[in-house]
Symmetry: C2
Subunit: 193 residues, 2 copies
DNA sequence: CTGATTTCTTGATCAGGATCAATGAATGAT
DNA sequence: ATCATTCATTGATCCTGATCAAGAAATCAG
């Protein structure tokens, strides 16, 4: 029988006792978002944390000039949300949007706190995952500054080649930090044969 | 009597029981770094986490082309290190350098794990602080992409005006992500009277 | 205090991304 | 299938940061 993709994620990185999983799962609900549906936007208080079962969600900021800057695409098997706002019930600066018909698991704050305090392996997953994400984000900050758009593009196609098939190019452009026109030219430059 | 700056940091954000502090403090040692001393560099396994008592430390990456990209200046009252490498004893990609004669508290992995498992308030501080830092880093990634150098400069002087007095301009330039020449011109553009 | 080194500024040129505009391709609705 | 809309490409021009080069200012060592 197929393993649940949430259990797979929990186990993949640091191990998670399978016998605890049914208990954890009771805290989550299921939900679907329509293509292009905005899940939350800057100013909202984030009430749920999501785990993507199927589909794709983007996290993005909107600059004072109104430019959308995508920082992350959450695909199948990823958590997605904004813990700061979620945990402290304060307004977020982030926006979330489903880019396809997307099915998620979600958990609210009360259940999250219960899960965190009663399932030690879930706590451990969070702590270790945060260490990993922080290291990644730091690197990302460094690279965001010093990579040229060409380098960012080549890094993206080497790390997540499928994203280019999956998403319209203007989302890729917003992720790399260039205009769609420039991305089109970058692609031309970087395509041999 | 003056409050210890570490206790002040622990209490400032989420509260920390003062009576637990002496116990926590026994896990830390004291150490000084000379001006420009490199604390650890990419490839090293990070053996300590630091708390800055006096002075200033920068965190930076070195790009494949050899360009240094500074992502953070840790001043008095800040933790500084790289948890991913520290906790897992794996090589880091980050570099740390003292920019002034700098006094720190430090803790090794064994003591850190003991502190984390025996002082719940310390655990809580770490979890909550990570949530805060992750949210900040995400924003930073977004801004790193879409802000112009002028905007980055103005944001820096509004958030941390003292850094400009404290540090040579080429460090500020490496933080903003421009050459020292460009920073000099930005400063000219943005100075009235 | 003096000379040497480092840091900062200024100038000129160059490269590449933004913008504006138009056309072509792909997608979606009926 | 057809039409409408959205998305991708291409061209021309403009703007800004990088680079190379030189000189000025500040800092440091003796």
């Amino acid at each position: 029988m197929d393993q649940h993709s949430l259990l797979k994620e929990l186990q993949s990185r640091y191990g998670f006792p399978a016998e605890e999983f049914p208990k954890l799962l009771t805290f989550f609900g299921e939900k679907s978002f329509k293509k292009n549906e905005v899940i939350f936007k800057a100013g909202d208080i984030v009430r749920h944390t999501y785990f993507v079962m199927k589909g794709c969600i983007r996290q993005y900021y909107i600059s004072p000039e109104g430019i959308e800057r995508t920082i992350y695409f959450a695909e199948e098997g990823s958590f997605c949300g904004e813990l700061m706002s979620f945990v402290h019930s304060t307004p977020t600066n982030l926006n979330l949007q489903a880019l396809e018909e997307t099915d998620v698991l979600f958990i609210n704050l009360k259940d999250w706190e219960t899960a965190i305090t009663t399932i030690p392996a879930f706590t451990l997953y969070h702590i270790k995952n945060h260490q990993r994400l922080m290291a990644k984000l730091k690197e990302e900050v460094g690279k965001a500054h010093n990579e040229t758009p060409d380098e960012k593009y080549r890094r993206l196609i080497s790390e997540k080649p499928h994203l280019l098939q999956r998403l319209p190019q203007y989302h890729i452009a917003a992720y790399i930090g260039v205009t769609p026109e420039t991305l089109s030219r970058i692609r031309k430059r970087n395509t041999q044969i």
